[in-house]
Symmetry: C2
Subunit: 518 residues, 2 copies
Amino acid sequence: MLDGPKVDVTHARRRGRGSPGDKGAPSRSPDYRQLRNSFLPQPVFSSDQVEAIHATALRVLEELGIKVLLPEARQVFKAAGCLVDEDTQMVRIGRDVVGAALLSAPRSIEAKAGDRARDIVFELGVMTFIAGCGAPNVTDLDRGRRAGNLADFEDLIRLVHSFDVMHMHGPCIEPQDVEMSLRHYATARAQLTLSDKFPFVFARGTPQTEDSFEMIRLARGLSVDEFHNGAHCYTVINTNSPRQLDIPMAQGIIDFAKAGQVSIITPFCLAGAMAPITVAGALTLQHAEALAGIVLAQLSRSGAPVIYGSFSSNVDMKSGAPAFGTPEHVKATLGAGQLARHLGLPWRAGGGSASNISDAQAAHETQFALWGSVLAGATVLIHAAGWLEGGLSVSFEKLITDIEALQTIAELFDKPGGGDADIGFDAIAEVQPGGHFFAAQHTMERYRTAFYEPLVADWSNFGNWTQSGSKTATERANGVWKKRLAEFVPPASAVATADVLDEFIARRTAEGGAAPVS
Amino acid sequence: MLDGPKVDVTHARRRGRGSPGDKGAPSRSPDYRQLRNSFLPQPVFSSDQVEAIHATALRVLEELGIKVLLPEARQVFKAAGCLVDEDTQMVRIGRDVVGAALLSAPRSIEAKAGDRARDIVFELGVMTFIAGCGAPNVTDLDRGRRAGNLADFEDLIRLVHSFDVMHMHGPCIEPQDVEMSLRHYATARAQLTLSDKFPFVFARGTPQTEDSFEMIRLARGLSVDEFHNGAHCYTVINTNSPRQLDIPMAQGIIDFAKAGQVSIITPFCLAGAMAPITVAGALTLQHAEALAGIVLAQLSRSGAPVIYGSFSSNVDMKSGAPAFGTPEHVKATLGAGQLARHLGLPWRAGGGSASNISDAQAAHETQFALWGSVLAGATVLIHAAGWLEGGLSVSFEKLITDIEALQTIAELFDKPGGGDADIGFDAIAEVQPGGHFFAAQHTMERYRTAFYEPLVADWSNFGNWTQSGSKTATERANGVWKKRLAEFVPPASAVATADVLDEFIARRTAEGGAAPVS
């Protein structure tokens, strides 16, 4: 066989000085909470081309403008000197206004979780992961594909909480069994009582936003002033590409900015559909729209925490179906990283897959999108785990297999040691030709912590694997998430917030809740 | 839904000026034959650390030495001034000898295929892919896992030939139904009559090697002198880590060097087992062993074409099972790239997966190993497609799903355009807010060739996918390889070599073939 066979080391180990194979040996406990990306960013454009895309985006905003549906937002732009046509709702933004916004937007944002050990800093060089978000459906091997519901939403919050490589919460699935005017109570309660990670709030109109902010203040024990002076939650703002900002999104930018909370401003630019068919063209439109949102945030409150957003991919030109993890998606993400570094702002990218099931396509597309984001230096990667069907479902099993990929990336951020002890001349001298290193002193000192221990990957040989039931990674992942849920214990500090939150929810429910209107 | 829904563009396209969705539209035909890697190499060690690993490897060769089982090889080393102990078979190689070998080893190797359009240049900056090699077993969805056999070997040669992103042949599976003394005729015949790509020859003793060289000369119409003055085939040499070179491998280095054919000299260093447990330690041993092989080749014929080989990964310390696509495998590959660039030589890396089936684990591990090789700047990636069980089987379906990943990488080497026409201000101006780009002039001019067209990925929505039978990527891949085989037509120039080869094989078979002895 080429490149050597699998080795049976049972015998080799028995002869050794110790027993590295002891199942009871203490294993490593890596820290995935605050990751810094050690990969060199990969450019796809020259710096002249980056400058040209930026300049063209400024020209788009100045000469063509963006349609802003919310009157309050048009008023904000107008007050800053932008040219507003009330008949067409078009807003043209001068480059001076954009330049001022880019000066006031913070380069670094300290995001406050429920526990200081869960805090995150959003800045270039940091990398954070969010599971698949916004799916109307949820799926797993036992129950199949079904409409999103609160019980599954809560289970996904539990799972996200239990993996350190998932750095904050997102609106994983839509709990469609809770009526719209009460849904935000349920989703905020789940995040705040089951976890102490940084929470997400949907920008679905001022009343819901205010309710959600109040729940966070109650859970965290913050006054309104304290809340406004720190970033305690975030939202995602999607522009309606091309060149349109709708009412809830514009309202969300204003509300979050005024409250000092984080907006991730993301045009969703599918090249060939809602954006030009070229990578550079899609990014130019994305850049213009993201800048318009950043301007609105900075005009609403100078210094408001905003994250530049990129989610540009392509569609299938035969059907119009969006695609993810494609060469064009990866190239767009790499280019977006260059634009974000040009601005100096923290930024988000988007992962995911268009596959309808957790299979080899799903894994390949997800990992391509992941590497695109890693090599682009994204600060935040949304839809990093579990996303199927281009966002129409979240899979419990794919969440687990994708988390293995995220943990692998987290391990890769840690460079291997290259000192004398790592190089190990003495270890090489100790083992004779044809021998083995299982029992070498150099091995014995390190074997407990030397290697990443897989979450779901099975490295056993074909015979043992067959005897264990010939399970695919997806089938094993089914067991992994069930075990995690069975063993889940929410943080005591989170559990302790339930009473005050329930009191608030009962009062607001009695008052009729809050419809998703601006 | 967060980040926007899937879009039905049927209606949108109908209103357009043209019909980008025409199924009959001519599609793009990308050229994957000669790939240059446009990614920046990613370092994991400082340049001081690289220098220290290199220096320690020299010290290993000089002070500890390597055990060389072949008397002829020890004689070659001795004649060059190395210290040889015939009792222990240990050879100690001075750094002067290593330095001279590194000066004579070529930085660039022109590999001659059966057609000039299939020629390859091996040098830093080039990237080439070889399918999974050396597996005793073969598997597919219809026939299950079975012992390697000639019919499957030939089908794999056909499949490899039919994808341009597979740049040369390898010993995909072991055709166990052909007896050992005749097997090399069957494998050479398959490569030479079904394909015009660069062929592989196993170094299983001088008689078999000479037979294989003669078949290549007959097929390519070369005299012995012409053959010796060009690289017309390659082999892979595995050292027996730690620090041992066995008889067939040493003989192979000598035979291939003397004939001017390519040796890829690859220690297979599993950290914690046959190599030190640290990445730096495994690479130090790998480097020493690869240098010893390179020295033997250069001493056998100065300027002999050699490729520096890396295949270092880790084992599961609980069972000793080798693992691939792990963080440690990727780190070792990135470090190996630094060592190869330190030498200035073309080099190979190794891909693959330890998974027992083509599933999400298999895809994730394979892609991690692939990215490791891409970001390390490997000249050749062996086991790039189809390899399962750490090399104990090759899967027809995984070959296809992995080729999609390789094609995606090939597309990524091509940077997106960043000129004015790509940025497309006029296209952005043409489409009004809330509109779409499907029918924009900018789109119409480009839609046929703008995007990568998937081989096996299915981007249809859940309803359509379900109606089509809810097939996984692996199930669809089954249809892809069958269609490729059904449509396969070997190159006429390859078919034309059958008569002369069969005449040779008949004669040699009558003579009893050639046993795998040195």
